[in-house]
């Protein structure tokens, strides 16, 4: 028999609902004789179906059948109107291509930052100035309108988040975006010219000198064609160090560099800090150097890449690499500075250490003294000591891989291995000397104690908390910095299965808030469905660290240059239209409730350059500018100036108007764009 449509949760409520439905039918049937009685009994029945909640907390708790744990969780997460969340979480959205900002502990979604995917509310990619940012991320001249965002990285000063910038990678196309946290807008997208697909980014060095990014699936340098038979010779891994200019708020590709590696797949990364500052660490997969080819009889990659017991942790001395680049010992490949494998070996920039096969996360402990590698296929986390790594390098007892890269002896670098459970993926830290590792297969978070100098009772599992379900990344408050806060943790679960109302077969992800306060067991507080993408990594920052603008600093502000735009109209009455041959240039303003000028008439084929300034100074007085038919929509926040350039190649009559409900006379905030047809 076919299952009826199943409401959630399945058991209890279904029985109750069907009984109520049954009663409802009975009631209606019994009262059929008089219409009045029918209405009356319906009302009575409806009231019975949805009893109003009582006035007191006790009554509500009883009626909603809440447990004491539920009540505690509610009290810890509820945010009264007008109160602000203490923390902000920046999450990737996977192939949604954007960044989410949640408030913690309420888990309210505060904003979706448009990054790689056009987003009309923010006027991102619909004709205005931000379209240039998207164009900057073109792939060999082709525009891209999506990305697979994985790992957001907040800028750091001395290994702590400074709340100024956010970086995020695009796995699918090998790109990195820069978001300015003064206006929460994407300012730059850079395409890595050496690779196509990446994963090991973004991670920043402790003072944001560099943003780390590495390939996932290797291609020949630059992504040119080469048959898979030439995998070992032509395909290459790329460990990239994007130079960040904090003053300009931009990545500087000309000052960035990369280190060539064998075509191992690089997975996650972390930058060293404290004693390990100046070093960076990447995990790798497929040191088998396998290539796909199921139809040719080769094993599937999931098998081919898991044949060896050990892969290689890559240990990179980036401080020294910087000097090597300064000394000119690099090649320009695709106009990008590349240190060749031989140079990296000669100069002692790159070492490998065996690590249990196909690991996932590599996470440096808060003091920078240990490197924690999560096993994925191995129930342990493997902890390396940075001091021991340095001793092993000094001792000089190396094996070499087939490309001549030194391999440090595993035992000499190992501090310990801690058995946590099945499928360990990522590790975060708190301020009590505990580490938290996500266990994908166990669907749990493991809390375990770090050893000395963090704790005397170290290197052992403390407890596990089930989460729902298939946890990927986890993020603790400032939990990957030099000073973790140790208050909350969010489990980013890949599957939600039965946690939410069913809305068709594509289920939301489940971000679960976990209390990790010291001296009590971890506890689950809140489920937050993510219905617009698949968050991978997230970072959680103390909200006080972010100093965002409420309105742009001055009227006429160009968010691209973060300065006043020379084409801004600063006063009402100074708007104008100029025609120069086939070009029509408009300098306009928006204010409640006018778009000035409100009539623009051009000839078919004219180039239109339209500068628009929102001259408002009131918080939240944003105006939109929509031009139907031309696929144009801008968001002009108070003080903002944008320039719109297009060719009026479609004759006709086009109303333009404000898309952001701004005032009582918002509907009247409109005008006409008239395109006279060619004769």
């Amino acid at each position: 028999m076919r299952e009826p449509i199943r409401p959630n949760p399945p058991s209890d409520r279904r029985r109750k609902v069907s009984r109520r439905r049954f009663l409802g039918v009975l009631g209606a049937a019994a009262s059929l004789p008089t219409a009045g009685a029918l209405l009356g009994s319906c009302n009575v029945l409806q009231r019975k179906e949805a009893p109003k909640l009582g006035a007191s907390a006790e009554e509500i708790i009883k009626q909603r059948q809440l447990t004491p744990e539920d009540v505690t969780a509610a009290l810890m997460t509820y945010m009264p109107s007008g109160k602000y969340d203490e923390y902000l979480m920046f999450s990737s959205t996977g192939h949604g291509g954007q960044v989410l900002v949640h408030g913690l502990p309420s888990m309210r979604l505060l904003k979706v930052i448009a990054v790689f995917t056009p987003e009309p509310w923010q006027g991102y990619g619909y004709g205005g100035s931000p379209s240039k940012v998207l164009e900057g991320g073109s792939f060999r001249g082709r525009p891209l309108t999506w990305a697979d965002t994985h790992h957001p990285a907040l800028s750091e000063t001395n290994g702590e988040y400074d709340g100024q910038f956010l970086f995020i990678n695009d796995k699918a196309n090998g790109r990195v975006a820069v978001i300015d946290l003064r206006d929460f807008e994407t300012k730059q997208i850079v395409k890595n010219p050496l690779l196509v697909n990446e994963h090991g980014g973004c991670f920043v060095t402790p003072n944001t000198e560099y943003v780390l990014e590495a390939d996932q699936y290797p291609v020949p340098l630059g992504g040119e064609y080469a048959p898979l038979s030439q995998y070992k010779e032509k395909y290459r891994g790329v460990l990239t160090f994007w130079k960040f200019d904090r003053q300009k708020g931009r990545i500087v590709p000309e000052e960035s560099f990369a280190i060539e590696t064998p075509p191992y797949w690089h997975d996650l990364a972390d930058a060293g800090k404290g004693p390990s500052e100046g070093w960076a660490f990447w995990n790798s997969i497929n040191t088998e150097l396998a290539v796909p080819g199921i139809l040719e009889g080769r094993p599937a990659m999931e098998m081919a890449t898991t044949q060896r017991d050990m892969d290689y942790l890559h240990v990179v001395n980036w401080r020294k690499a910087e000097q090597v680049v300064a000394a000119g010992k690099y090649e320009e490949v695709q106009d990008f500075k590349l240190i060749r494998i031989e140079t990296a070996v000669e100069e002692g920039l790159l070492y490998l250490i065996p690590e249990p096969k196909s690991p996932h996360g590599v996470d440096v402990t808060p003091r920078g003294d240990y490197i924690v590698v999560a096993g994925k296929l191995d129930p342990h986390v493997t902890v390396y000591s940075f001091e021991k790594i340095q001793q092993a390098i000094a001792a000089g007892q190396f094996d070499h891989d087939e490309y001549g890269i030194p391999i440090l002896p595993f035992e000499q670098c190992l501090e310990t291995q801690v058995e946590l459970g099945l499928g360990p993926l990522h590790t975060q830290f708190d301020d009590q000397g505990y580490a938290y590792t996500s266990l994908f297969l166990d669907s749990a978070v493991a809390r375990w104690a770090l050893g000395k100098p963090y704790r005397d009772d170290g290197w052992k599992l403390v407890e596990k908390l089930p989460v729902h379900y298939n946890i990927g990344h986890l993020a603790a408050v400032e939990g990957d910095t030099a000073k973790p806060a140790g208050t909350f943790l969010v489990a980013h679960n890949k599957w939600s299965v039965d946690r939410f109302s069913l809305l068709g077969p594509l289920l939301p992800q489940n971000a679960q808030l976990v209390d990790i306060a010291p001296d009590r067991p971890m506890r689950l507080l809140y489920d937050s469905p993510i219905g617009i993408g698949e968050p991978h990594y997230a970072q959680i920052i103390k909200a006080e660290r972010i100093k965002a603008w409420d309105v742009y600093p001055e009227v006429g502000w160009n968010p691209e240059t973060q300065s006043v735009d020379p084409n801004a109209v600063l006063k009402v009455g100074e708007e104008r239209i100029e025609r120069r041959g086939k070009t029509v240039e408009i300098w306009g303003v928006l204010l409640r409730s006018q778009i000035r000028p409100d009539v623009v008439e051009v000839e078919e084929g004219d180039e239109v350059i339209w500068h628009l300034t929102n001259i408002e100074r009131a918080k939240d007085a944003t105006h939109g500018f929509a031009l139907g038919g031309y696929n144009i929509n801008l968001s002009l926040e108070p003080g903002e100036t944008q320039t719109l350039t297009f060719v009026a190649d479609m004759p006709g009559t086009f109303p333009f108007y404000c898309t952001e409900f701004c005032s009582a006379l918002h509907l009247e905030m409109m005008g006409y764009f008239l395109v006279k047809p060619k004769r």
């Binding site: 409640r592 409730s593 001259i615 408002e616 100074r617 009131a618 009582a664 006379l665 009247e668």
Partner: protein
């Protein structure tokens, strides 16, 4: 004109208890110091707001503030926002109010302070008499403000969006009024209080100077 001296040895005073208490109190004041204080208060008032208006509405949780300075700061606060809102009811821009008065105000106040200073320096009745202007000044300011508030509320642009919804009105000089969803709270600013203090000091000083000159005349 006779020279005035408060502690002239030739004065033979009547017994204190025979004189009204207010005159006794007045006689203890120093008119020079009072005039000097008035001059200083007037100069300081240039740096402070004379009148402040706060507009409260649900969508402006912090309120909107406009302050009138008679010194170089002129109109301050959320002037653009208030103008933007006022345009819906057809009200003139705040900058267009009392342009002449605001243009001469800084010079006028400096002149008043100079007059008070002169009265402090030159102990004559005519210098005191000139200081009557300082006594009148805050009253003139308030009268002018009231006029302009009335003028603004009664000269609304009939073509404005909300012209039919708003009847002519006079915003309050002091206290609370209501326009649309806005509560308007008007307050005197510290500058105006200083001007009042200067007016009081000048009034007392003038009276004192008259008292001493009277006595001198009586005796003489």
């Amino acid at each position: 004109m006779e020279r005035i001296a408060t502690t002239s040895p030739v004065v033979t005073e009547r017994p204190a208890e025979a004189r009204p208490a207010i005159r006794v109190a007045l006689s203890r004041l120093n008119d020079r110091i009072l005039f000097a204080l008035a001059a200083v208060a007037l100069l300081v008032s240039l740096a402070l707001p004379y009148w402040e208006m706060t507009l409260l509405a649900p969508q402006y949780p912090g309120g909107l503030k406009v302050a009138i300075y008679l010194g170089p700061r002129g109109l301050a606060g959320d002037v653009a926002e208030v103008n933007g809102l006022n345009h819906y009811i057809g009200m003139m821009k705040l900058e267009e109010a009392a342009t002449f008065e605001r243009a001469i105000a800084p010079f006028g106040i400096v002149a008043l302070a100079a007059v008070a200073a002169l009265a402090a320096a030159v102990r004559r009745r005519w210098t005191a008499l000139l200081s009557v202007l300082a006594v009148l000044f805050p009253l003139i300011f308030l009268a002018d403000l009231a006029y302009w508030l009335w003028y603004f509320g009664h000269h609304l642009d009939p073509t404005a969006a909300l012209s039919s919804a708003i009847k002519p009105f006079t915003p309050p000089v002091l206290g609370t009024g209501r326009v649309g969803q806005f509560s308007v709270i008007a307050r005197f600013g510290p500058g105006l209080y200083l001007a009042f203090a200067a007016a009081l000091a000048s009034a007392l000083a003038i009276a004192r100077r008259w008292q001493s000159s009277q006595r001198r005349v009586e005796v003489g």
